[in-house]
Symmetry: C3
Subunit: 136 residues, 3 copies
């Protein structure tokens, strides 16, 4: 059995930004040499998410708007600590911070339209995603 670990770093220009990372995850799996197993793609921060969905710019705008509606920027209890990112924590919870992708025949076993995204909700500073593969 093999295990392989790496980290992707991000520092976005904007407070919110969705970044496609399918190619980076595929490259990581190739380097692992694992033929059959799982790769976990997991945000290491509590104001970012990792999700799988469509690489279509209209839909990406829809997701931003929809999240702003479900978790608006406003005054939260959390802001009494000096933070101003309460809504970013809630967006992390809706979207979930991680996905597990199966590895089959040495490749990501994704459906035809499935792309992996890093979703930043409180950026403009260095943040990380952990990649961990386990298998044979």
């Amino acid at each position: 059995m093999k295990a392989h670990t790496d980290y992707l770093w991000f520092e976005t220009t904007n407070r919110e930004e969705f970044i496609r990372i399918t190619d980076e995850v595929a490259q990581f799996v190739y380097e692992s040499g694992i033929q059959e197993g799982f790769v976990l793609v997991s945000a290491m921060h509590i104001t970012a998410a990792v999700y799988v969905n469509d690489w279509e710019s209209g839909l990406i705008k829809d997701i931003h708007r929809w999240l702003n509606n479900l978790a608006p920027r406003k005054d939260y209890e959390h802001h009494r600590t000096g933070e101003d990112n309460g809504e970013a924590h809630l967006k992390n919870l809706i979207m979930h911070h991680q996905v597990t992708v199966p590895i089959t025949n040495g490749e990501l076993d994704l459906g035809p339209w499935q792309q992996i995204f890093y979703a930043e909700f409180d950026g403009q500073r260095r943040k990380r995603v952990v990649l961990k593969a386990l298998g044979i």
Copy 2:
């Protein structure tokens, strides 16, 4: 260590349909011969989900209504591509597209009321779920 992979196919009659798949996943785990490990159950489409909850028809109606309220059918940016399924993408994101079930003593290690469901949000065509088990 063993890895085992299979795919479940669905073609629902209705646009939205929730289908219990616990028995199919249990059968897959039995065939894998794995005694201790994980089974990933993951939708391969971006307008469907896999979730674990109660097998109770009233609750299933409640979930449909609640999702229609959180992600209503309306005009989305995504529809400029010719699609009409923006709300189905958002429902995929709320519900998450995958679950991992532990395998203990060769069986699904679920709580007494936990059932695995495939949740279709844009059906009436062939779609897939990947099953992947890893363990000893």
Copy 3:
């Protein structure tokens, strides 16, 4: 390859309660002897969740309020069975019932602010979380 399994039991005083379990999961990983792998932390009930976010009391209040807004206590179809916890099922679905944490060098590979929580939405009775680690 090693697999290790255990269960955490909870019986909360209140109907809703969020309980930090990072230390219990870290202790479980230490006992497993696994150096590289995954630990799955998964609620075995359909009215509870497991999530990763901040250990900050204001934010925890914000999450409770936000969930009450997205999934209010009201009359649900599910209540025709005699239950009164429809909203707790919906909260389970928003928050997701499980997380997978990577194990690196024998330790939980979490970001600096990431803490693991058990989120009870219908407590005051004994409920369980399964811990399952797989790796080398």
